[in-house]
């Protein structure tokens, strides 16, 4: 388990835990970033801010990309999925 800020570029990761306050956790959940969701790390200044895409269970990837600042990327813990 590593913070998202350390994930390498182009890797697929799954969120294991979000260690943040209620407000931020909820906001991230609404963006589809919650425990169990799979992300593709499009860009990473590892360790640093990341750009991610959310991969849905159907394998359909949104064309939507979001960047998370270093601070937030340190609060999301992920495990590598290849």
């Amino acid at each position: 388990m590593i913070p998202l800020a350390f994930a390498s570029e182009n890797s697929l990761v799954r969120i294991v835990e979000v260690r943040a306050g209620q407000g931020l956790t909820r906001k991230l959940a609404e963006l589809g970033l919650t425990q169990g969701s799979t992300l593709r790390v499009v860009k990473s200044l590892s360790p640093g801010p990341v750009v991610i895409e959310v991969v849905n269970s159907s394998g359909y990837t949104d064309a939507w990309r979001v960047m998370l600042g270093f601070g937030i990327a340190m609060k999301i813990f992920v495990e590598n999925r290849g």
């Binding site: 609404e30 963006l31 860009k43 849905n56």
Partner: protein, 685 residues
């Protein structure tokens, strides 16, 4: 409500536009209203509110543009505004604009809106872009599954707008609202049913809100909805039942209810997308990907950003230079000479006060216009979002985020729009810190001061010396930011979440509007505060303790020495004794408080020379060391009057005074240090 009852003939329909950021909301708003809008702020916050009025089929529509949002959690100010507007103001129709190319993300909001009980019309925008990316959306199917009208549009080309207007008017007539969309599973549904029946017992609550929505929000533990419930006479019962239900569900689901509900909603959205979106082709590698590979590169990202900004600034200054000269000539020759022909006091006020003072500010307008234009272009194309990403890592170390970048860069043009741009920073502490250090960034008004003084004393090294001032400004801004964030605005940053939009062709209109909005603030201040300031300075120059000195004081240094300004100058000289600045240079600093570029003009007056003769006078009055300290002091010492006024307006008087105080102390300290260290090193001579 009463107002409508009194005017039964023309019932105005109230329409709100809601949608995620970057889906073409402003474009849609402009297309619907024809660009005529009333712009104000939402009550109590500095978030912009736009309202427009149109007529469709004999009906009047009032259209309100809500802030861009992803959900309705009431996490940020934007979400709270949008949600409260829909819940409390209960608009007749909510137009939910969604980006056809990012359907899954966008439909989450749609489902939340419908769940809330809003009368939704979906505007399926950018269908062309979706097709380009290989997706095709079946809008009829989507409409059927959501139970609301879905109108495909291409807002930038104005396509589908007439159909949308018609759908809005039709929807307003619609009586029945779509049934509940998302099924949360039997356990949760039974609790929702039970809670909503309790909520309905309070008729006032039932009239105002959708009881199912209230029940769901209570299960999610939404504190804002809980606050609304607290006003009800039944609040005790409702809240205790909700807490009980939450506890019960938590143990039977084995996890927290909130994330379970969000997940169920997402599941529903996933099904929608699966059934309504056809994938035509694999997503190709886009131009955006290729450009992003380079500009957000780990190593090259920052050099590329610096180069892009340097080129933008350089180009802006070069293009603007002849225009600046023209304006300068217009004010300092044409208008000045014209006003000087008016005899007596009025002529002097006009020529020496207003035209010289305001003119010296307006000279910068072309510079600023071009800087703002280039920055607006970079923003609109989508580059500034990448730049924010690239600097986030450094900013994080300074306890800020990438969002602080744009305000600070705008600050190089003029500190005013920079401070206003801090509104986009959600985190209150980050925002205040950025706004308070922005005045340390060397704005274009300080450049003429550097040029004259460096020109007089560092003839061979002018460029290097001037450059060092800019660097000094950035360094002190970053140091102060870290200090403020650590000592005054403590606590972790709520961080930085920002959508990375694909690169877009810049829209002339939106670039124009952004540029003008920023320039307008500057012009407004030049016309009000600076105008008033120069009149005061002029008055203080022609009067003194002995009474009226006459307008000749402005031409004669010996007479000027007896004016209030002379007294102030001599007073300041004592404060600045360690730095060895004469009374003229000290008094000029006082003028510089009105606007920093006035330092040059007032030195000319105080030394009793023309601006051309100034170089000679300055080189006699300073040594290279004291001159360098003086330049650093001008960079740091006080935000100009207009900047202070903006800080007061944005953050309050307390922060304006604080900024003035800390900057003065910092500047004095730095100037003192430069002179002391320089003297120790034997550079004093």
């Amino acid at each position: 409500m009463e107002r409508r009852a009194l005017q039964p003939v023309v019932k105005e329909l109230r329409v709100a536009i809601a949608g995620n950021p970057n889906v073409g909301k402003s474009t849609l708003f402009n297309e619907l209203t024809g660009g005529r809008a009333w712009v104000g702020n939402w009550p109590g916050v500095t978030v912009e509110k736009k309202v427009g009025r149109i007529r469709v089929d004999g009906r009047y529509l009032e259209i309100v543009d809500l802030p861009g949002i992803y959900g309705l959690t009431a996490y940020g100010v934007d979400e709270l505004i949008a949600r409260n507007f829909i819940v409390e103001e209960n608009p007749d129709v909510v137009v939910n604009i969604v980006n056809a190319a990012n359907l899954e993300r966008n439909l989450y909001l749609t489902v939340s809106l419908i769940e809330m009980g809003a009368n939704v019309v979906v505007c399926l925008n950018m269908v062309d872009l979706a097709a380009d990316q290989g997706y095709e959306v079946n809008s009829e199917k989507l409409s059927q599954m959501l139970g609301v009208p879905v109108i495909p549009t291409i807002a930038v080309e104005g396509r589908g707008i007439e159909e949308l207007k018609k759908a809005i008017v039709e929807a307003a007539e619609r009586k029945e609202k779509p049934a509940s969309l998302v099924n949360y599973g039997s356990k949760v549904e039974s609790e929702i049913g039970r809670l909503s029946r309790i909520v309905e017992k309070d008729l006032e609550l039932a009239r105002k809100y959708n009881s199912r929505w209230v029940a769901i929000k209570l299960l999610e533990g939404d504190s804002d909805v809980e606050d609304k419930i607290k006003l009800s006479p039944l609040s005790r019962e409702i809240l205790s039942q909700a807490a009980e239900a939450r506890e019960k569900l938590e143990s039977s689901l084995g996890r927290d209810v909130e994330s379970y509900i969000v997940e169920k909603r997402y599941e529903f959205v996933s099904q929608l997308v699966e059934k309504c979106v056809g994938v035509l082709a694999r997503k190709p590698i886009t131009l955006t990907d290729m450009v992003d590979y380079v500009v957000t590169h780990k190593v090259f990202g920052i050099p590329i950003m610096l180069t892009a900004l340097y080129v933008a600034f350089k180009f802006a200054f070069d293009v603007a230079a002849p225009l600046c000269d023209l304006i300068d000539w217009f004010f300092s020759c044409f208008l000045y000479d014209l006003a000087a022909t008016i005899p007596g006091l009025a002529g002097s006020l006009l020529a020496d006060g207003i035209i010289t003072g305001v003119g010296s500010i307006l000279v910068f307008v072309p510079n600023l216009a071009f800087i703002f234009l280039f920055l607006a272009l970079l923003e609109d194309v989508g580059y500034m979002a990448r730049a924010a990403f690239v600097v986030d890592k450094i900013m994080h170390k300074l306890h800020l985020t990438g969002k602080s970048l744009l305000p600070l860069i705008l600050g190089f043009g003029c500190n005013l729009p920079g401070i206003i741009a801090t509104r986009a920073i959600e985190d209150e502490n980050d925002r205040k810190t950025t706004a308070l250090v922005c005045p340390l960034i060397s704005c274009s008004a300080r450049l003429p001061v550097y040029l004259v003084i460096a020109g007089a004393l560092f003839s061979a090294y002018v460029a290097g010396v001037v450059w060092s001032m800019y660097i000094l400004g950035v360094i002190f801004a970053l140091i102060m930011a870290t200090l403020l964030r650590k000592l005054l605005f403590k606590g972790p940053s709520s961080g930085f979440i920002m959508e990375l939009p694909p690169y877009m062709k810049p829209m002339l209109k939106s670039v124009g509007i952004k540029t003008w909005e920023r320039l307008k603030r500057f012009l407004f201040k030049a016309g009000t505060i600076i105008f008033a300031g120069v009149v005061v300075v002029w008055l203080l120059s022609i009067t003194g303790p002995s009474g009226y000195l006459g307008v000749e004081a402005l031409e004669e240094a010996t007479l000027l020495e007896q004016s209030w300004i002379g007294i102030i100058g001599h007073g300041l000289e004592k404060i600045f004794t360690p730095m060895g600045w004469g009374w003229q240079a000290s008094a000029a600093l006082f003028f510089g408080f009105i606007a920093k570029e006035i330092v040059v003009g007032s030195m000319a007056v105080l030394f009793g020379v023309s601006e051309e003769g100034l170089i000679g006078a300055v080189s006699g009055a300073f040594t290279p060391l004291t001159a360098y300290a003086y330049m650093a002091f001008v960079l740091l010492y006080l935000p100009c009057l207009a900047t202070l006024a903006i800080i007061r307006g944005e953050l309050g008087l307390k922060y304006a005074l604080f900024t003035a105080a800390y900057e003065f102390i910092l500047a004095y300290f730095v100037a003192f240090l430069i002179v002391s260290i320089g003297t120790l090193l034997g550079l004093g001579g």
